[in-house]
Chain length 340, copies 3
């Protein structure tokens, strides 16, 4: 799969990352400079001064404008050039730059990479657990030198847990139990039930279990790059309500280039408000995602080194990933054809 | 602008850099090995042994020859192979290499990259303040990962001072006052007068000013890569003689490759003989040129990442730089056409 | 010379390097994963899982199989896929990978890169001094960023010793005395006699010489990448038997890519059983081969930077190397033509 969906929101930063200074990030191969206006609202413009091409993100914020670090040109959040210090007038339009719709939601900053007129808030992923009352959340960011689709594959096929995350997320029952997958429009949902198994290390952090557990994993993929994981563990055989998530992992797998990805992840839980529990949970996930990074970067390097080889193989564990790829491929073709 | 002027002197080293060992540097994409003969004179030859292609500059000097580090082949300053250790005879001419006219002047070593018969000392830049009586000078070298023309642009448009060099060279009046530019043959001269302004930090190092100053910047660009800056500061309204420079910055912006530059800079002043003043002046300029390097390398990276984008923009501050580029473009076309 | 001989054994590791964990190495541009079965025998397979292309060598050994680090697929030493954890069955053949004949001999592991049916033990180099009674041996490994042929050239032209290895292997008589070369089929043999010379530093480590020595170097090159050096030093004028080697250096110059080489070297001697002598000998050779690496990598970089330049030159010292290149060129042409 080559290319990126354009008319989509992409997570571009955590809300906390963007303070008083601009932040530059390449998103879908486009350099983007984000900054906050005085009212805290977020703006995103092309990260390249039209004068000498210096990245605007290495400059600073002046009022509601971003100022170039080189000759002090200023641009507002709509991309209009508002000041050229070495001359009195700003020629109308000649030095304007592209701006991108940007919103802050669920403790993340999302940027719309396509036609601004079509920027639809309804397409934002539902990551409300990041900042909802009663939930504790922790955030992480990793730059992974691998195509974003490889990260989607990784998260939709958790049969890698026993092999990659031996001391944290691994546990019996994962490879033994099938995943059930359904597609609803552009959404892939999947579920794996693992009844009557020993708790994985991460379950023991969150809650005390005297014996076996009923473990389950609910997956929701929505284009272009969002995966919501609902990770459940109840005492084996109990009739605890499973309709309400209590431990989720939310993943934004934003393409930087064709071979690198900004991975924004967060874990949220409403089981145990103890900050020490949250810290431990963060560390365990951080270690796990670092382990994934090692695998994914080795995978990308092997793919790059084998340009004429066969495509990736697929087995039972890849069921959800294959369907997600199919949706992305269809939507890329639709965008290429100009179909909404 | 692509390519380099060939029939020109390029600064290739400071005189102090070249001691008893050879020094290798890529100049205009040509690997050059410089060395000193026993009488101290400088030789420059292709930095590649014709036997196994090993760089001669990692070898040593033997008498008046440079010796290859691998099998001990020797070459004199004219490029003639004088010794092949594993055989008795040196086949005439078969292992000779190219030599380049080289001179030491103004504490710099210059190498002529074109037709040796046209190596004209009159084309050397006048950087006499580097080693004239009554002047104190300090030298610096930076390798900058940016095309040399971007460095020329930088030095001919000092409206970047208030933004890039906030704590050293910045000061009021720079962006507010126009630059007056004139072209005389291949030379671009420019001047900016900034009357009745507060002294910049660097002025306070050199001299005590009780109040405002009349500040001025005189620029002289001469091809291919030389910029002489005459930086003046007199007490505001005084009738001090402005015809004689007292604080100059001399810049050689020698191309290494299309995207990297050897930047040789020196500052010289005849105001204050105190070595501590010179040390402070050196540190301030060093910091400023490091700041420029950060900007210039970000600029080059942005240009490289935007191969199909529009060209660089130009505004009032770029007047001198635009004229310098025009001269270089014309001279490159002349060389391509075989016109002297 | 471009490309690699295929129907050949290549040293791929020292025996000691391959323990309980798999070892991955690119050989002739092919990624190879080596591992030991429970009986200690060596297997070699393509270092790329057919499922998601992750290198198998970052996995582990399970029984007689190598296990992928990502989703736990297993493969035996013949390359057959034996386990896919996320499903019950392994589809016959669909996930099999290539295996390579591999043998352990002379303290090295050799892998056959061509048609397995033609893997001929008679083509292994005779490096028996590595593990013969009465001999002490030490092994080294260097990854050198240079084409393997440049390393062959280096070892077949020891006139570089006085220039590159001034404090270890250098000595009088090397460049002054000719090398005599003979070709027997695919083998190049050469000899240089250096009568009545001062001992080099390395000779003094091995044995006490009261005066001058008769020094000699016997070379044997055999395709694709093996050079056996027999380095002799007898008291000058003595009638010591020279037919039996007592100090040898064995070199395997295995291509990693077109521009990088796995250099496996060993020294062996039957003169002095003192471990301190062996340690000193090891250190001296290690230093010397590090010196070679510096030269060879500078050479490769200079070749890469000069793609349109003339070919490498050759002089008297290159006689053996030229003949070795001729054999390799002929054999490459034979392989390309399908001739055995």
């Amino acid at each position: 799969m080559v290319g990126f969906l354009s008319n989509q929101w992409y997570a571009a930063a955590t809300a906390q990352e963007l303070g008083e200074k601009p932040l530059g990030r390449r998103i879908c191969n486009e350099p983007i400079a984000m900054f906050r206006r005085r009212d805290g609202s977020v703006a995103a413009v092309t990260d390249r001064c039209p004068h000498r091409k210096v990245p605007l993100s290495i400059g600073c914020v002046v009022g509601d404008d971003i100022q170039c670090a080189y000759h002090g040109f200023q641009f507002n959040g709509s991309g209009a050039c508002t000041l050229i210090p070495s001359q009195k007038d700003v020629p109308t339009g000649a030095f304007d730059i592209r701006s991108f719709p940007a919103v802050e939601k669920y403790a993340l900053i999302f940027v719309w990479m396509g036609d601004p007129g079509r920027a639809d808030p309804a397409l934002l992923p539902d990551f409300h657990e990041n900042d909802s009352p009663g939930w504790s959340a922790a955030h992480g960011y990793l730059r992974v030198a691998a195509n974003y689709q490889l990260l989607i594959d990784n998260l939709l096929d958790l049969t890698h847990l026993p092999f990659v995350h031996k001391t944290s997320l691994a546990g019996p029952g994962i490879v033994e139990n099938p995943i059930r997958v359904e597609v609803a429009g552009d959404i892939v949902r999947a579920r794996r039930d693992m009844p009557n198994v020993d708790p994985a290390p991460i379950h023991r952090v969150l809650r005390h279990f005297p014996g076996k557990i009923d473990r389950y994993q609910d997956f929701e993929f929505r284009p272009p790059v969002y995966i919501h994981l609902n990770l459940g563990a109840n005492p084996a055989g109990s009739d605890e309500d499973r309709s309400i998530p209590h431990h989720v992992v939310m993943n934004s797998l934003t393409p930087e280039t064709e071979t690198s990805t900004h991975y924004f992840w967060s874990i949220a839980q409403c089981v145990n408000p103890d900050p020490a529990v949250m810290q431990k949970l963060y560390e365990m996930n951080k270690m796990a995602f670092d382990e994934d990074t090692g695998i994914l970067e080795a995978q990308q390097a092997a793919i790059d080194a084998d340009p004429h080889g066969p495509p990736l193989g697929a087995v039972a564990g890849d069921h959800a990933g294959v369907l997600a790829r199919r949706i992305l491929t269809r939507k890329l073709a639709e965008e290429a054809a100009g179909t909404p």
